[in-house]
């Protein structure tokens, strides 16, 4: 039981920050984004204990993947650029970590989200099957990683058809709450959103990293990332992520995890006004670490008091004028 529930005892307990994400109750809208802090039970649970409403594990595939050699993750002045290349220990090992994470999170009320990817719709489905024993609260399907194009081809998330195929394949093996993670690079993201929802998604994460981008080192005379290009995240991408959330919210009627460049309570509220139900927090952990969750929650609470907002439900999508 958290503060919001106690509010039915009478006196106003302060702004209501809890939200309903595809049937899963989050104590606050902040979600640790996939790929941040990996999939280790210890780090996921730590982010949860520190105040995330939900935590997402790093995307995993059926088989383990080494990912790209270093350099893979860099700070370039206005955010991050990364080409980790979806390194992961494979679904079996990931399942064990998720089970441990679930145990460590027991009783905290923090939701646990698994994330999967694959080369084909069937591979996505198989990865989800392999994770079932962990009984996570939600599954996120990552069809939008821009860093493995050389290997995996054009991301599924760029076109409505392929995006829907993956969703259907996963839906056919998994009946729990299902999020699909879209790409801010899709020129017609609203259409992709519509077809993914028709194919059975319960919610959408909007979105993954932008680009890809490239940083060249002038002395080395070559791109810094070993993969040459990488996904751009952090403050630089916020206006584009917000526009994506706005467009998607206008197109479909499922909850959205607005993700991209959020660093403050004001940024989080912007996402919610654009139509998001929850808000992904990724690059903001650089340097600051898990304290980011407490800080953003406090800032959000303060802003709500200042603006006379009693509940996030009150302002969700209110910028659609």
């Amino acid at each position: 039981m958290d503060r919001d529930d106690r509010s039915n005892t009478g006196a106003w307990q302060g702004p209501k920050l809890s939200v309903d994400l595809a049937g899963v109750r989050l104590q606050n809208p902040l979600v640790l984004a996939s790929g941040i802090w990996g999939s280790a039970a210890g780090t996921l649970a730590r982010a949860g204990r520190a105040g995330a409403g939900a935590v997402t594990a790093k995307s995993c595939s059926i088989e383990p993947r080494r990912g790209h050699p270093n350099p893979t993750v860099l700070q370039w002045g206005h955010g991050l650029i990364n080409a980790v290349g979806l390194s992961n220990p494979g679904a079996e090992e990931e399942c064990r970590e998720l089970q441990a994470a679930k145990e460590q999170l027991g009783g905290t009320g923090v939701a646990l989200i698994a994330s999967v990817f694959g080369e084909t719709p069937e591979a996505f489905a198989q990865a989800v099957l392999a994770l079932l024993p962990a009984s996570v609260d939600l599954v996120e399907v990552n069809i939008s990683c821009p860093n493995v194009a050389a290997e995996l081809g054009r991301p599924f998330a760029l076109d409505p058809g392929p995006a829907a195929s993956v969703t259907e394949a996963v839906r056919s093996v998994y009946s729990g709450p299902l999020l699909v993670k879209l790409s801010p690079n899709a020129p017609e993201i609203a259409q992709v959103a519509r077809s993914v929802v028709e194919a059975g998604a319960d919610g959408l994460t909007v979105g993954n990293t932008l680009g890809p981008g490239m940083i060249i080192d002038l002395e080395a005379r070559r791109p810094v990332l070993s993969n040459r290009v990488g996904g751009v995240s952090g403050p630089a991408i916020r206006p584009i992520a917000v526009r994506c959330v706005y467009e998607v919210a206008a197109a479909v009627d499922v909850p959205i995890v607005g993700t991209g460049g959020v660093r403050t309570g004001a940024d989080a509220m912007e996402m919610i006004m654009a139509g998001a139900t929850a808000v992904g927090i990724g690059s903001a952990l650089e340097d600051e670490g898990e304290e980011v969750f407490g800080r953003i929650t406090r800032e959000l609470d303060q802003l709500m008091r200042q603006l006379g907002i009693k509940s996030l439900d009150e302002i969700r999508g209110c910028a659609h004028v």
């Binding site: 790929g35 941040i36 802090w37 990996g38 999939s39 280790a40 210890g42 780090t43 649970a45 730590r46 790093k58 050699p69 270093n70 350099p71 893979t72 993750v73 860099l74 700070q75 370039w76 002045g77 991050l80 990364n82 980790v84 390194s87 940083i215 060249i216 080192d217 002038l218 002395e219 080395a220 070559r222 810094v224 990724g282 690059s283 952990l285 650089e286 340097d287 670490g289």
Partner: protein, 249 residues
């Protein structure tokens, strides 16, 4: 200036360490706390974490264990290295009499601690270990600083036969140190933790884990619920040994 990411240094001088090891003095300084590390990129090869062996001028000591360290050890005067950082938290020093225990490439994490602590008027002793004498590194640096060194090798080719944990036994019994600072192979650090369990000697351990970002985002360097790059690389012994040592409660 030449990129948003790295500062480029040139090798000013190179010193052969043990077989397959080298120390490099670079052509500039980098303000760092003892125990902090940098990410070093060799274009076309790899990028890896290395301890700041000395900060003015920036100096690195590398043990050749794989492709990156091998390339580092072969650098010559004038060659360039790409450096970002420093990252992490260094050693928290409050003691008067400091016992440093180093093994393998971990020794590089202790030299800056030693020289800074001397500057601050503390007493420092050090124990260095390796499998065999030819693998010992950086003894010369402690000699330069005038710090007494206890050596331990598995084969007894230099110093006491055995481990550094054996070598420091007399100092521990004599109640000499106020605190112990260590960096080396994890088995060494576990052994040290076991030896000190039950004493009230503070123990600080510096860890080496594979890293991608270095600034607390990717999760690659985790050690239980800790991130070595951000929460470490230096930890209070108790805290991490609970995760690492199967025999710890």
């Amino acid at each position: 200036m030449c990129s948003d990411v790295y500062t480029v240094y040139r090798v000013v001088s190179r010193r052969q360490e043990s077989e397959g090891g080298a120390s490099l003095v670079l052509d500039g300084s980098l303000r760092a706390d003892p125990g902090q590390f940098v990410m070093v990129w060799l274009p076309g090869i790899e990028e890896r974490p290395l301890a700041v062996m000395n900060d003015r001028p920036l100096s690195l000591t590398i043990r050749d264990v794989g492709p990156f360290t091998h390339a580092m050890c072969r650098l010559q005067e004038g060659d360039r290295v790409w450096v970002r950082g420093p990252y992490g938290h260094g050693f928290d020093v409050r003691s008067r009499r400091m016992l440093l225990v180093g093994g393998g490439s971990g020794i590089a994490s202790l030299t800056l601690l030693a020289s800074r602590s001397l500057d601050e008027g503390r007493e420092v002793r050090v124990a260095l270990g390796a499998r065999t004498s030819s693998q010992l590194m950086l003894g010369w640096r402690f000699d330069e600083l005038g710090i007494p060194v206890l050596y331990a090798t598995d084969d007894g080719t230099v110093g006491a036969r055995g481990t550094t944990v054996d070598a420091i036994e007399p100092l521990l019994r004599a109640g000499w140190p106020d605190a112990v600072y260590a960096c080396g192979p994890e088995p060494m650090m576990i052994a040290l933790g076991r030896r000190l369990r039950g004493t009230d000697l503070p123990l600080y351990l510096s860890f080496e884990r594979t890293m991608k970002c270095g600034f607390g985002v990717c999760g690659n360097c985790h050690l239980g619920d800790q991130l070595v790059c951000r929460d470490g690389p230096v930890f209070e012994g108790e805290k991490v040994l609970r995760v690492l040592d199967p025999l710890a409660e």
